[in-house]
Structure formats: C-alpha cells, structure tokens
C-alpha cells in the first residue's frame, strides 16, 4: 500500500482510496446499494454537502490508529476516511432509522404535489420517500407556502418544493459571473431567490435546473409539456462554441421536448451545458445523435422503452412460454 492510499471498509466491503477521500466518494467507488443517498453534496460544486443529512452513516471504527467508534452518525459527504476505518450504512438499523427520520423531516413542509410536478419520475426526493418514507405523516400543521417566481423567461422557481440544498446557489456562484442568486431569510422561512427577483441572465444559468434534486427549479420551456417517463432520452452532441455540447435530448415522437446535461449514475451532470444548447437548440437537425441514454431498469423512465414489459397474458399462464420468456418477465417485476 502506497503512502497516500488508505483502506476503508463500508458495509463489509473493503476498498483502497486516495487519502483525503470522503466516505461517500469511497462508497461510490464501490458502487451499488451501499452508496449513501446524497441530496445536497455535488462533486462538481465546491463547498457543497453537509446540509441535507441523508448521507449519514455510522463509523464503527475510527481508524487503525484510533479504533474508537465516532460518537455520532456523520455526514459521509463531508467526513474523510482514515486508514482502517469501518463504516456501516445499510447494514446499520440505526442509520436506516435516522435516515428515515431525515426523509420524514424533509417531507413535512413539502407540498407532496408529485402528480403535477415536472420533476416526478426523476426526483431524488421522490425516490428517497419511496425507499425510506413512512406511509403516513405525523405532521399536522399547515405547510409552508410561497408564490412561484419566474427567474427570467426560462426558469421557474417553486420554493414550496425546495429542500434548501444550496446546490443552485453554489452553481450560480461558481459557474456564472456576478452573484445574483442566493438565500434570503433564515431557518424554515429561508428562501432561494435572486436579488429582487432579478432575472438570472447568463450563459450557464440553466444548469441550476439540472443540479436541483427536486422540482423547485424547472425548465419553463418544458413545463407541463410531458411526463418524463413518456419521453425517450437520447445522448447527442453538437459543436458548441460555449460549452462541450454533450447533452441528453428528451424525445416525444419526433420532437425534442427538452435538453439537459448528461447525468452519471449518481445523478450528477457529467458536464455543465450552456443555455443555447439547453433552451434554444431543439431540432434533431441541430444534433449528432450518439445513442439512447442508459437508464437503470428500476427507473420509471426506463419503463416506457421496452415493449416487452407488457407481455401478452397468455405468456403468463402457459408454463412453457413462461420458461422461455423468463428473462423478459423478470423485467416486469417492479422493485
């Protein structure tokens, strides 16, 4: 083992990572179910993380040198690994309970308006709620509400759904010139805003839509056009003078309904894209099509892509047919 490598064990799986890596990023190197969910951390945004607390894990052994466990659960996105550290995520009932608590807390003031929210189907909070949330709420008070705000003619802010992850604030800070987007007020009356509702007007402002884990910042050029699971994502490229031009086009029939940056398996954009690509280049002829975007088969977006997901009833009842179509049938089981 070289000097700047350390060993860390997460849920029983050992991995060797660079010194200074966070627990979350070490877990991402392992991949799979043991990766803690991250609602505020964004690897491309400096200073992000530590806020939402969904990524909490238990450190059951501090390090080889100091094996004492850490007294409290820690935010894995902001805690760096030590050599010999042992971490529990999904193997710890305590972590799962605490995470369910965080999800409950994130939802108490949430409008739960998924049926009319454009983000539904690709929303991290919806996924988390599904996985950890309770069926019922214990919160019996009026939920916090705000007026919708149009930030310029391309972006809409729906503060009711915001979880104050600060990602959009860091994006606006780090990607664009002139700081116009930030947090007003404090506590549970904090709100994301631009100074006196000033329009965000620069080449990269549209990226706040992609980093937003919920439906608080949405694309006005796509608003209410379609549910994401009825659209087909396709990776495409164009020579753009401003950005990398690497995008995902979301098709309905022959029409490009929206353009987004490409996202990796952890839901983070691979490369930020410019507003021209995002909002103003919506013809197939503008793009070189590369391939259908890879979507996890557990995602609702994948559902619409495979005819085979709706097998004929006869297949289900005929033993022979069932055996022959085993693999396809497995895909019809919803997780």
């Amino acid at each position: 083992m070289s000097d700047n490598k350390v060993k860390v064990t997460i849920d029983g799986i050992t991995v060797e990572v660079e010194n200074g890596t966070t627990i979350l990023n070490a877990a991402r190197q392992i991949g799979g179910d043991i990766v803690p969910p991250a609602m505020c951390y964004y690897s491309k945004l400096k200073g992000s993380g530590g806020k939402c607390r969904t990524c909490i894990v238990k450190v059951s052994k501090g390090s080889e040198k100091d094996p004492r466990p850490m007294p409290k659960l820690v935010a894995s996105c902001r805690t760096t690994v030590m050599d010999g550290m042992e971490v529990q995520n999904i193997t710890s009932p305590e972590v799962l309970e605490a995470r369910a608590g965080v999800v409950e807390i994130l939802l108490i003031n949430h409008p739960l308006d998924c049926p009319v929210c454009d983000q539904a189907g690709e929303c991290d909070l919806q996924d988390l709620g599904y996985e950890h949330g309770l069926q019922k709420t214990r919160y019996e008070f009026e939920r916090r509400t705000f007026e919708r705000i149009d930030i310029g003619d391309k972006i809409q802010l729906h503060m009711n759904r915001c979880i104050l992850c600060y990602r959009c604030v860091y994006t606006a800070d780090q990607l664009t010139d002139g700081r116009v987007h930030g947090v007003l007020n404090r506590g549970d009356h904090s709100e994301i805003s631009t100074y006196i509702e000033q329009a965000i007007d620069n080449d990269f402002s549209g990226n706040v839509i992609d980093v937003c884990p919920v439906g608080a910042l949405t694309d006005r050029t796509f608003r209410f056009k379609n549910r994401v699971w009825f659209t087909k994502p396709v990776d495409a490229h164009r020579d753009c003078p401003t950005c990398s031009g690497k995008v995902t086009l979301w098709y309905k029939g022959p029409d490009v309904l929206r353009v987004t940056a490409r996202k990796d398996q952890f839901g983070e954009v691979e490369e930020f894209i410019c507003n021209t690509c995002r909002f103003e280049t919506k013809n197939t002829s503008d793009w070189t099509i590369i391939e259908p975007t890879k979507i996890s088969d557990t995602s609702v977006i994948a559902a619409n892509h495979y005819e085979t997901l709706r097998p004929l009833p006869v297949i289900k009842t005929n033993e022979q047919l069932r055996e022959a179509n085993k693999k396809e049938l497995e895909k019809t089981i919803k997780y």
Binding site: G49, G50, K51, C52, R53, I56, P71, K72, L73, A75, R78, A98, G101, V102, E104, I105, L106, I108, N109, R138, Y139, F141, I163, L164, Y166, G182, V183, N185, R186, G187, D188, H189, S190
Partner: protein, 456 residues
Amino acid sequence: MSRKLLLEHINVPGIAGLDVYRQKGGYRAVEKALKTLTPDEVVEEVKKSGLRGRGGAGFPTGMKWSFLAKPEGVARYLVCNADESEPGTFKDRYLMTHIPHALIEGMIVSSYALGANASYIYVRGEMMPQIRILERAIAEAKAAGFLGNNILGTGYNLELYVQPGGGAYICGEETALLESLEGKRGNPRIKPPFPAIAGLYGCPTVVNNVESIAATVPIINDGGEEYAKIGIGRSTGTKLISASGNLVRPGVYEIELGLPVEEFIYSDEYCGGIANGKRLKATVAGGSSVPILPANLSLKLANGEPRLMSYESLAEGGFATGTMLGSGGFIAFDEDQCIVRNTWNFSRFYHHESCGQCSPCREGTGWLEKVLHRLEYGHGKMSDIDLLVDVAKKIEGNTICPLGDAAAWPVGSAIRHFRDEFEWHVKEPVKSQSVNYGLADYAKPIEKVAEVKTGE
C-alpha cells in the same frame, strides 16, 4: 464575601473611563505581559490557570490557544465573541457596559500571547450602546499608547476593531461569527477545518468569549497558579452568573466556582431567595440551551449531596439527572410558572434563530414549536409528548452546529422531568388555560438512586 476578580471595582464611580480604571490597577497586565513575558509564557500562565471557556462549551482556554497553527508569514487573529444572545445570559453585556477596559486589556494580553496584530470584538448588533462604549475605550487606550504601533515601546503592534453583529443568535456560533465578520451570511461552517487552522479569512484564528478574555487579566496579574487556587477541581477561578427569573435580587454576580446552588439562590450575598415568598420549582442553570432541572435536582445531586455551581457538579448525573454550567445564564422558576409554556417559549426562540442550513434543525425546530404551542394552548394529544421526544432525538447530534442540540435538549429534559405537567395539559385542556399546574412533587427530596451515572 467571596473573591472578585472581574467585578472587584465595578461600583467605583468612573471605572468605565481609562483614568479611574488605571488608578485601580488597570493595564498592569499589559505592562507585565508585554515587558516581562514572552507570548509563550503568557499562554503557559493561562494553561496553568485552568481557565475554561466562558462562552458555553467550557473548553480549556490555554489548550485552545496552544492548538493555534503558526505557519510562517500568515496572519493570526483573535476574535472576541461578544454576540451574547442566549436567553438568560447577559453577563458579557454587563461587563462591557460597566468596565469595558477589562475587556480591552484582556484583548491586548491575549492578542500578544497569540501573536495577533489585528483583533476583533464582534458585538451583538442590538447592543449599540456597548459598541459605542467599547469604541470610546479603544480610543482612550490607543491615546494612552496601549494600542497601535510599538505598544509601550516593546515593538508589539495591535489594532483593535469593534464589529456590530448581524442580528442573529446563530452569529454567536464561532464559525458563523467568522462568516459574518467576513461580510457573508452568518451560516456556521462545516468542521473540520477548525478555526485554529483556517478561521477568519482562512487564517488561524482563536475565538473566545468576552469573559474568557477578561479573565486573562487577573491571571497575568496574579499568575496562573494563584488563579487555579480559586474554585474547585477542574472548575478554576470565578464565573459571572447572570441570574434572572423569580428571584428576590436578579442580576449579574461573580461567584467562585464551587459555590453551592442552594447558597447562590437563597443567600443574601447573592439572589436572596425566591421572590414573593414563593417556592422554587425549577432552574435552568446555564442559559436556555442546557437541560432544565426540577427544584430537587437543582439543589441536590441524585445521591443527596449538594449540587455546586461548577462545570462538573452541574453535569453530574449526565442527562438523566444533571445539566450544564453553559454560559452562566441562571434562570429560576417559582411554583407558579408553567414548564410547558416555558419550553414552548424556548422552542419558539430556536425555531426563529435556526439558520436553516441543515434539514433536521431547519424543519425540526419548527415542528417542535408547533406541537408545543398546541399543547400549551390546550389542543394537544397524549401522543404529542412522545412525538416531541422523537423529533428532538432526530435533531440532536445530526446537525452542522450545536444549535440543533440546543433546541432539542430543553424539550427532551422538560419532558423527562416534568412529564406529569405535560400530561396534565392534555387531560385538563380547559383548566390548564386558567390555572397553573403548581409545584407538584418537583421539590420533594428524591429517593436515593442506587446507581448514579457520573458526569464526564
């Protein structure tokens, strides 16, 4: 009479001015430190004194100072935390109002020890008169050659600045304070890195409470060892206590640590007992963030021995039967006070003051407040009581800064010790709106507990 180190001359007319302050021996510590001691020797004296941070956490000041990183060519800063906003705590304001030079003198000595050439006093924004007083005191000290370049001909340079606070309790949390001082939104930073490594403008920084800094003056004058003789065990020296609530004589007192709580409340030297001949029901010993205790556990430990005003004795029994010295904001409640109402009031404060960065504190504090409001106003349910405990548990230990804990502890402890009263609010929704629950059993001697958990 116990010894007074900080408030000895508080009643001398004109002590707020430099001349009278000097006649009473003021600025001796500056002369002694700058002329006869090296910075490291000053740090050593403070270490020997056993002084612990007076801002709430009680971390040994000398040790904090010795952690300060000292990279070549990088400025170091001392920042005085005068943002005092904890409900029940008003000792720093008293000191700054009446004897501002004690703080200025402490700032010079401490800055010298840390090698800082620019130091800041971050004063709660609402304390405009105190800001003016400090500015005047700084001007006087500068005119007399205690500040500026080449102080007392020793070659040491120091500028002192007063910064009005941003108007939020959270700006008292040391990293939020640094953000605010830098001109940003006062959100606590995620640690590490700690201020000792990367604080103000990314430079090594020490943040200390007003009283901690003022206490370095007697420590340098008399020596750390002399200071350590006062007090009890690891709680050395004197402590300012701001006493409020239903007391005959509320106010700011300087006590020797180790004074029995009973003596503090009832003796004529201090608070003079409970006002209007009533009986004590409960105390909050160290500012609104620390656990509330019923009268019996306020005065006595679970094993029947007297409880003392010291870091250790107040914490004896852990969270089951103990509390904390905190920032020394001592609040007494008489038999006519409603614990449910008080708990709601505290929760309202934390809800209002949460910065809103981390989800458990941002959302949880509001939830606590709303449930407590409902209980207090007779619309509560039995299940609300356990709900409160559960929500408090979800906040506690799962936040960026200790404000989350501070919001959770008062609720958890109130229910732990006063559950009867919460239940009574549910059972008697109408009656509880016009009469109070009263003293009940809260002052009865407690049965000796066989196994007593000791504090840390």
